[in-house]
């Protein structure tokens, strides 16, 4: 279980810009093996919140607890998937996927075995010796996903992972992610700015507002799992998506004035 209590992060003033309150006291609880989607307009601190859970941030107030223990840095229980993939261009697919295992001191034979396994699981068998630039965006994010899953985390943190790929590829990646999670359940915290994606993937959608960045609302998604192929035609899916859009639109309009 992940618990956030009054998490506050202020980026100090920089080059004449005023300080930015990236997180203005966030309270949120994520149950074990729950899939929570964080939805909000851009610039509302979604990525900052993800980094706080990852333990990459120094918080100004509040705390993040995982199973009762306060997070003070990155840990073996968590792994992250990045929006821009964050693959190492000088390393081939095999080395990229095995990178996290390598940092954690896993022996070469063992990490190659595990990496091979996950490369196959994400559908990239045969591309082990290819370099990231030889792969398309969708394939690169499959590498990013395999790298995160290879360290066998209990918690998967995903930062708009499918935001940089085209619509068809995104849909395939979403389906494959759900299928992979059916096989090994994990706690997932998934940041997105897509309403469809949030409803399609999540057990719960958390809406976040900008300025001050807070949790505005938490909505249960009561769609069956595994999601049926025609889930987008489900009245509840449509209704929920519509509701989220209304909320997001209201937020965008109310903040448009502040953005100037």
């Amino acid at each position: 279980m992940i618990e956030l209590k009054g998490v506050r992060k202020v980026y100090p003033s920089h080059d004449g810009h005023p300080p930015v309150v990236a997180l203005g006291g966030v309270d949120l609880t994520i149950q074990t093996q729950e899939f929570v989607c964080l939805l909000g307009p851009s610039g509302c601190g979604k990525t900052t919140l993800l980094k706080a859970i990852m333990g990459l941030l120094f918080l100004d107030a509040g705390e993040v607890r995982i199973d009762g223990r306060t997070v003070s840095g990155p840990g073996a229980d968590r792994a992250m998937v990045f929006q821009n993939f964050a693959l190492l261009p000088w390393a081939d697919v095999m080395t990229n996927v095995a990178f996290g295992l390598d940092l954690r001191g896993v022996s070469r034979a063992e990490r190659e075995r595990k990496a091979r396994e996950w490369i196959r699981a994400v559908g990239l068998e045969g591309f082990e010796r290819h370099y990231p630039r030889q792969l398309s965006g969708g394939m690169q994010q499959r590498v990013g996903l395999a790298r995160a899953l290879a360290v066998d985390p209990r918690i998967l943190l995903m930062d708009e992972p499918f935001g940089a790929v085209d619509a068809q590829t995104r849909r395939l990646l979403q389906e494959d992610l759900l299928a992979l999670l059916e096989q090994s359940r994990k706690t997932v915290f998934f940041v997105t700015h897509s309403m469809e994606e949030a409803v399609l993937l999540g057990d719960r959608v958390v809406l976040m507002t900008p300025r001050p960045s807070r949790i505005r609302e938490e909505i249960e998604v009561r769609l069956p799992r595994p999601r049926p192929p025609d889930v987008e035609k489900d009245p509840q899916f449509i209704e929920l998506k519509e509701y989220l859009w209304q909320q997001l639109r209201a937020m965008q309009i109310s903040t448009a004035g502040h953005d100037g």
């Binding site: 990155p74 992250m80 954690r104 370099y131 030889q134 792969l135 969708g138 394939m139 395939l172």
Partner: protein
């Protein structure tokens, strides 16, 4: 995304990419390339020979005279002794510049404070006409090896530092974040990301710095401290032994070319594996479709 069809599709993609890769080895245009290069060299040598014969001057040796002088010189200890003396200063000065230049480049690339502190001097060092500084260095350190090492150092240092800094800055913040997210120690971060990520630019900086070091060595030997190769050039110039002088200059050029070629080979062999190769782009997009289907 499962099934035998897909496996077949992947196999064919791999075959396609591998055939693209193989295409590079036995390229028929290789022969053409080398014959053009040889042809260009032959044309240069021939026109040199003809022009020198037409000029018919004691001060302009022909190509064949220069070649003969070169062979004579290569068999004496005079040339090798001079090269040894010159390259002592070169190697020491360049080694010093490499170590400090890379260190300063990393410092400036990683820490804003170091950047603010050092940036003005580095900028000045880069644009300053070096020949003007040589007298200062000689006045400060005398006419010995130390001052020659210092001159070579000051020729090469800024180039190496600036390229290293550029390399460090090209490291994507997301690589660092990703590495930290896996719980890497500071040491792991340096080894796996910072040193590795900056190394293409560092190697390029070292290569360019080496060129600067060679020119520093010769400039100083010609201008102020007549030792080594520079002294030999001045000696033959004074004696109007034109062919010998030309031959020495050719030796210096050959050394510079050889050194940079070695560096370049090293860079290429290490880093072309992931460099952007256009010919992959079509195969890669095709491959993605196969996976998507």
């Amino acid at each position: 995304m499962a099934g035998g069809d897909q496996e077949a599709a992947r196999q064919s993609v791999r075959a396609k990419i591998m055939s693209l890769e193989r295409g590079r080895g036995n390229d028929p245009s290789r022969l053409l390339k080398w014959s053009l290069r040889l042809g260009s060299f032959a044309a240069l040598a021939l026109s040199w020979e003809l022009l020198a014969r037409v000029a018919n001057s004691l001060l302009v040796p022909t190509f064949t005279e220069t070649l003969a002088a070169l062979v004579r010189l290569l068999m004496t200890s005079r040339l090798w002794g001079a090269l040894w003396i010159s390259n002592q200063a070169m190697a020491l000065g360049f080694g010093l510049a490499a170590v400090t230049g890379v260190a300063v480049g990393f410092l400036m690339g990683r820490w804003r404070a170091a950047e603010r502190f050092l940036e003005p001097y580095l900028s000045i060092l880069l644009v300053m006409p070096m020949s003007a500084v040589i007298p200062i260095i000689i006045m400060a350190t005398g006419l010995g090896l130390a001052s020659r090492v210092m001159v070579v150092f000051s020729f090469a240092f800024a180039t190496i530092a600036i390229n290293t800094r550029a390399g460090v800055r090209m490291i994507e913040p997301s690589w660092i974040e990703m590495t930290r997210a896996f719980g890497a120690t500071e040491r792991q971060l340096w080894l796996a990301i910072l040193l590795r990520g900056a190394s293409p630019a560092v190697l390029m900086g070292l290569r360019l710095g080496l060129i600067r070091a060679v020119s520093g060595m010769i400039t100083m030997e010609l201008l102020l401290i007549a030792v080594g190769v520079g002294r030999l050039i001045l000696h033959f110039q004074g004696n109007l032994e034109a062919a010998e002088m030309y031959a020495i200059v050719i030796v210096v050029i050959a050394e510079a070319v050889l050194l940079t070629q070695i560096c370049q080979r090293f860079e290429v062999s290490r880093f072309t594996k992931y460099s952007d190769r256009q010919r992959y782009s079509r195969a890669a997009s095709w491959a993605d479709q196969a996976v998507a289907e």
